[in-house]
């Protein structure tokens, strides 16, 4: 598979699991452990999917998502927000900044992989 996926997550346990699952599906995901690292990666790459944690050091997930949506070069990039913020207002905020999908922690890995498949199929 040629899809490029970027995981932006500062929690090592989530990173290890996501990386393992995506590799099992045949992807080679890239990892950014904070907002600044993610922005640096996005300046030089056009990933098909960004799996983006909301609470990050440096720059938060909402800000990164907004930057992606303001960059025409990244028009085809899908954003899946992962967050521990589960209130309706938080989901609305995720949609408002242009996320394509939103998963609340703790999520089922099957839901996550279904979302990944769906976003990449689109």
């Amino acid at each position: 598979m040629n899809h490029q996926i970027l995981i932006v997550e500062d929690e090592p346990s989530i990173v290890i699991t996501l990386e393992f699952l995506l590799k099992q599906k045949g992807f080679t995901p890239q990892i950014a452990r904070d907002g600044i690292e993610a922005m640096t990666f996005l300046e030089n790459h056009q990933p098909d999917l960004v799996i983006l944690d909301v609470m990050l050091p440096g720059k938060n997930g909402y800000e990164i998502c907004q930057s992606i949506r303001h960059e025409t070069r990244l028009d085809r990039t899908k954003v899946l927000l992962l967050t521990a913020k589960g209130r309706v207002a938080d989901v609305e905020k995720g949609k408002a900044v242009g996320a394509d999908a939103y998963l609340t922690k703790p999520f089922a890995i099957q839901s996550l992989m279904d979302q990944v498949d769906q976003l990449l199929a689109n």
Binding site: P12, S13, T17, K105, P106, I109
Partner: protein, 339 residues
């Protein structure tokens, strides 16, 4: 003068604080609209229909409060504030301010009333609560994803299995620490909210009577308090401490019936606890003092001993015939009650 009175009337109609202006004998001269709302209670007549404040508030407490105010007239900006029980669930913060002219008391007192909101001071602030939920969700997410992945790929390499086990262990450990931190934070939060209130002993008695009376597993009879005095304390701590103590004693003596009695003795107030059955040893009470108070399905942030020290309370076992336990409280402002 008439113009001034007119303006004063308009002011009382529009201010949002509860104000009653009365004479030294409690005769009401003027009230604000907010005062009527604050003093509205099913068991009481409407403020507009009464002539004396003592028809709404306990006359003996009111008299003691006016005495306390008089004792302070020589102080700069004299005032006296206390908490009074309006009904079993409503408590008021009351401020008494004398009307002075050229430094002399004019026989008029301004009574400022404010309802105390109970629920707010027992809750964890939403911001802290929200942040805790988010952190717990995050750690649970690590654990859940790791377990589900191990279940989904049972044939995974032993090294990878080890890695996932480590994730589960680390996350569970972090969660445990977090639970401890949350508890510590809650305790500190509660401690900062437990303010000491000055309340008349008659209201202390009624408050404890209301609350302890609703306990299905205790049978408590109260003898009416003799004398008047002010006590300084926090109601939440006192109720929890007394329930904790009575339930510990009940379990120890196998008897759930108690007689309780407040008594004013000079600069001390005694709360005597009487029961039929074996005495309690001092070592046992000392042991209970070291325990965190758990009563009425609530966990209190302090130990029984910490509550005692905070309120400067001492105890005596079997000081007199029939009295099994006496709690000794210092009176707040000993000279300010009516004879």
């Amino acid at each position: 003068m008439n113009q001034f009175e007119g303006a004063f009337g308009i002011l009382l109609d529009h201010i949002r604080i509860g104000v009653v202006v009365c004479r030294r004998d409690g005769q009401i001269l003027a009230t604000s609209k907010s005062a009527s709302l604050i003093l509205e209670d099913e068991a009481l007549p409407p403020l507009e229909s009464v002539s004396y404040l003592s028809e709404i508030l306990d006359p003996l407490i009111l008299e003691d409060a006016f005495y306390a105010l008089e004792d302070r007239l020589d102080a700069p900006n004299p005032r006296f504030h206390f908490v009074a029980r309006l009904s079993s669930s409503v408590f008021l913060q009351i401020d008494l301010l004398p009307v002075l002219e050229n430094g002399l008391h004019q026989d008029q007192i301004i009574v400022k009333l404010e309802e105390l909101v109970e629920d707010a001071d027992h809750s964890v602030p939403p911001a802290t609560f929200q942040s805790t939920i988010e952190q717990v969700r995050s750690h649970l997410s690590g654990i859940r994803a790791a377990i589900e992945t191990m279940m989904a790929y049972p044939e995974m390499d032993e090294l990878v299995v080890q890695q996932f086990r480590q994730i589960i262990y680390d996350q569970a450990l972090t969660l445990s620490k977090q639970v401890e931190e949350v508890q510590e934070e809650w305790i500190n939060e509660r401690k900062s909210q437990m303010t000491l209130e000055i309340m008349h002993i008659r209201d202390w008695e009624r408050f404890l009577q209301d609350q302890i009376g609703s306990q299905p597993d205790l049978k408590v009879r109260w003898a009416s308090v003799q004398g008047g005095a002010w006590l300084e304390g926090d109601r939440f701590s006192w109720l929890q401490s007394l329930l904790f103590l009575l339930k510990r004693i009940r379990n120890s003596i196998k008897n759930d019936s108690f007689n309780l009695m407040f008594e004013v003795c000079g600069e001390e107030v005694h709360l005597d606890v009487l029961w039929v059955g074996p005495a309690i040893r001092g070592e046992r009470l000392e042991k209970w003092e070291d325990q965190v108070i758990t009563a009425d399905e609530m966990v209190h942030p302090l130990t029984l001993g910490e509550v005692f020290r905070r309120h400067q309370v001492s105890w005596l076992l079997n000081p007199e015939k029939d009295v099994r336990l006496r709690l000794v409280f210092p009176v707040y402002a000993p000279r300010t009650f009516a004879d």
